[in-house]
């Protein structure tokens, strides 16, 4: 359990010291109801309505099994949003692939797009934007990031704390199977290489239908006030959910592992605890309301099982029994909070001054009309700049009936309140090449682009989420890139007066010794009081004046 909980993915042991800047430099905000450290940041957008959004990576699973990896990536971020008490209302998908004409891209890309589409479409979540970028540096390590945004009444905000001795711990959703055992600690916390063969059992298969039922039943439970605490099961499965909910409340738990509904009866305790089977949530409920909770689950045809109970306060222990034996007895805080924190060595990459010396001015310029024409056509036809309809038409953009802007716009907009027209605009952006040249400014540029994309729709930008995709933190050059990028993003947010409300770090994105370009993906969310006044990017009418703003 310790090896999982203290893995890079779960403990943020290499990134923690840097990420603190986001909070230290954050401007004070009275909009923020929940910030970093929660499943996702929650921002108030009116007196009664809040939104929550977050972007997360599912890079390594998507390389091993593109379809299922990408699909379960969407599933995971949606559960994060759901756990905050919100109804998920839209998704976005920033993607990075190797060269467009590489045979392995032909394997990975269709699977990824299909997986994202199938899962998101089946959940009824409109896809309102994303990115498709090709670069050889992602050949052996594509990036699959997924963003979800959700909406909640301000007073429906949920907590993960397992408070109240005697409250019942309930597992809701899918049966637990052997899928994904060690997925997080193994796949996301190690370099990716040819040994992936032996890691194959880590593949998880998603069931979007079950997730849809999970969404509807959780929302019904929230509205009926039946939930004391809730946490999604993602990486590290029950281990993570049990320890985090208990540690957050400073309580203990007594759990009978035999009660966990299993897909394969022969599973051993450590497998049950580590399984990353999808479409499960952990609930803390008042024993007097347990029957009501079970009734809601039954209405939606979901399994709900009481696993045990919360035990008395300070210094409480997590006690897990199986077949009459105690298999775990630890203080939950030691797993969740006492993980190691590293200040890893950093060094500026040797080749950076060479890269910077190789200036764009030295490139040949088109001089004649024909050359210009040829350059323009080449640009327009390049995979990174061409029309992305071939991807986006595989995604449902209309479902829920509130999509006001989506592809090809620079920001997606969803209406949140039909009466007033209140809505949000979101954009996700990143530029690995810029960031490779200069991580500090690359991260700032990603933020600035995303911020502009949101602002030009007419929205007021209010919050930032980020997914920091980097190589191995054990490589001092990568660690330097990471530190610089975080510093750049934190400074940029400070200058723009907008807080980072949550995000995700993905390390070990490399093939052998070669890391990907450092790729911080930045999502900005803005608020429109009335989406009827949004500005789309197309020219509207003949005779309109065209102005160029800025330097």
């Amino acid at each position: 359990m310790y090896s999982i909980m203290w893995s890079e993915h779960c403990s943020y042991k290499s990134s923690k010291v840097h990420l603190r800047q986001f909070q230290e430099k954050a401007p004070p905000s009275d909009r923020m109801l929940a910030g970093m450290g929660e499943n996702a940041g929650v921002i108030k957008i009116s007196d009664t309505i809040a939104v929550t959004f977050k972007v997360e990576s599912h890079n390594h699973p998507s390389f091993v099994e593109p379809h299922q990896g990408a699909a379960t990536g969407v599933g995971g971020i949606v559960r994060d949003i759901l756990a905050m008490g919100a109804r998920p209302v839209a998704v976005m998908d920033p993607l990075r692939f190797g060269a467009a004409d590489h045979p392995d891209t032909r394997r990975v890309l269709p699977g990824v797009v299909n997986g994202i589409g199938q899962y998101g479409n089946s959940l009824g979540l409109p896809n309102i934007g994303g990115e498709v970028v090709f670069d050889p540096c992602y050949q052996g390590n594509p990036l699959v990031n997924a963003l979800c945004v959700g909406v909640l009444p301000v007073d429906r905000l949920q907590k993960k704390e397992a408070t109240g001795a005697g409250n019942v711990v309930v597992l809701l959703g899918a049966k637990t199977g052997r899928d994904g055992i060690g997925g997080v600690s193994v796949l996301a916390s190690a370099t990716f290489d040819d040994e992936s063969e032996t890691r194959r059992p880590s593949v998880q298969v998603g069931d979007p239908f079950l997730e849809k039922l999970l969404i509807e039943s959780c929302l019904e439970l929230y509205d009926a006030g039946l939930v004391v605490g809730i946490q999604d099961l993602g990486g590290a499965g029950l281990t993570c959910a049990l320890t985090e909910t208990a540690a957050a409340a400073g309580t203990g738990m007594k759990i009978e592992l035999d009660r966990v509904p299993l897909r394969e009866p022969s599973m051993l305790p450590h497998e049950i605890l580590a399984s990353e089977s999808q479409e499960r949530m952990l609930l803390i409920v008042d024993p007097a309301r347990l029957d009501d909770v079970l009734a809601v689950a039954a209405k939606w045809g979901l399994l709900a099982t009481a696993l045990g109970e919360v035990t008395e306060g300070q210094g409480g222990r997590l006690e897990i029994s199986w077949r009459g034996r105690t298999v775990v007895d630890v203080p939950p805080g030691s797993l969740a909070d006492d993980g190691p924190v590293y200040a890893r060595p950093m060094r500026e990459p040797n080749d950076r001054f060479l890269l910077q010396a190789d200036r764009a001015e030295t490139l040949p310029r088109p001089r004649t009309g024909d050359e210009l024409r040829e350059t323009l056509l080449r640009l327009a036809a390049s995979p990174n700049l061409c029309d992305k309809t071939w991807v986006t038409e595989q995604y449902d953009r209309y479902v829920l009936g509130n999509t006001v802007l989506a592809q090809p716009e620079d920001a997606g907009i969803v209406r949140i309140d039909e009466e007033s027209g209140l809505g949000v605009a979101i954009s996700v952006d990143g530029n690995g090449r810029f960031t490779r040249l200069d991580p500090y400014h690359g991260a700032r540029l990603a933020l600035a682009e995303s911020y502009r994309n949101v602002a030009v729709t007419g929205a007021v930008p209010v919050a930032v989420t980020d997914c920091l995709n980097f190589g191995s933190p054990e490589d001092p050059a990568v660690m330097w890139q990471f530190a610089e990028a975080v510093r750049g993003l934190a400074d940029g947010c400070q200058e723009l007066g907008i807080p980072v409300t949550g995000g995700n770090v993905s390390f070990y994105n490399q093939t052998g010794a070669a890391p990907i370009h450092p790729t911080p993906i930045v999502g900005v969310l803005g608020v429109l009081d009335d989406v009827g006044y949004r500005t789309a990017m197309g020219f509207n009418a003949d005779g309109d004046v065209i102005l160029l703003l800025g330097e």
């Binding site: 099994e65 299922q68 199977g177 899928d179 194959r200 059992p201 298969v205 069931d207 897909r263 999808q278």
Partner: protein, 84 residues
């Protein structure tokens, strides 16, 4: 007929949402006594000449089955399979 059949099924430890959905629907049809349903693919390959099991295996391996999550078996169509 020069037909070879490739059956592709999810590995036993992999979740099969399709089969599960069907199994859950059965009680509504008044069917009890079914403990599980698994759904895979049946692929019929028609050869011009002789049925070529080796080649079918190669096609299955490269194209029809996803070795990360699926297993496959290859056989000639059994007469029993036509007992509708």
């Amino acid at each position: 007929m020069a037909r070879v059949v490739v059956d592709v099924m999810l590995k036993p430890e992999i979740l099969d949402p399709q089969g599960q959905a069907v199994a859950n629907a059965l009680p509504r049809l008044g069917v009890t006594g079914v403990s599980s349903v698994r759904i895979g693919k049946r692929i019929e390959i028609e050869f011009d000449g002789e049925p070529d099991l080796e080649q079918a295996r190669e096609i299955a391996d490269k194209l029809l089955a996803n070795p990360v999550i699926e297993d496959f078996t290859i056989h000639l169509p059994a007469p029993a399979e036509a007992d509708k």
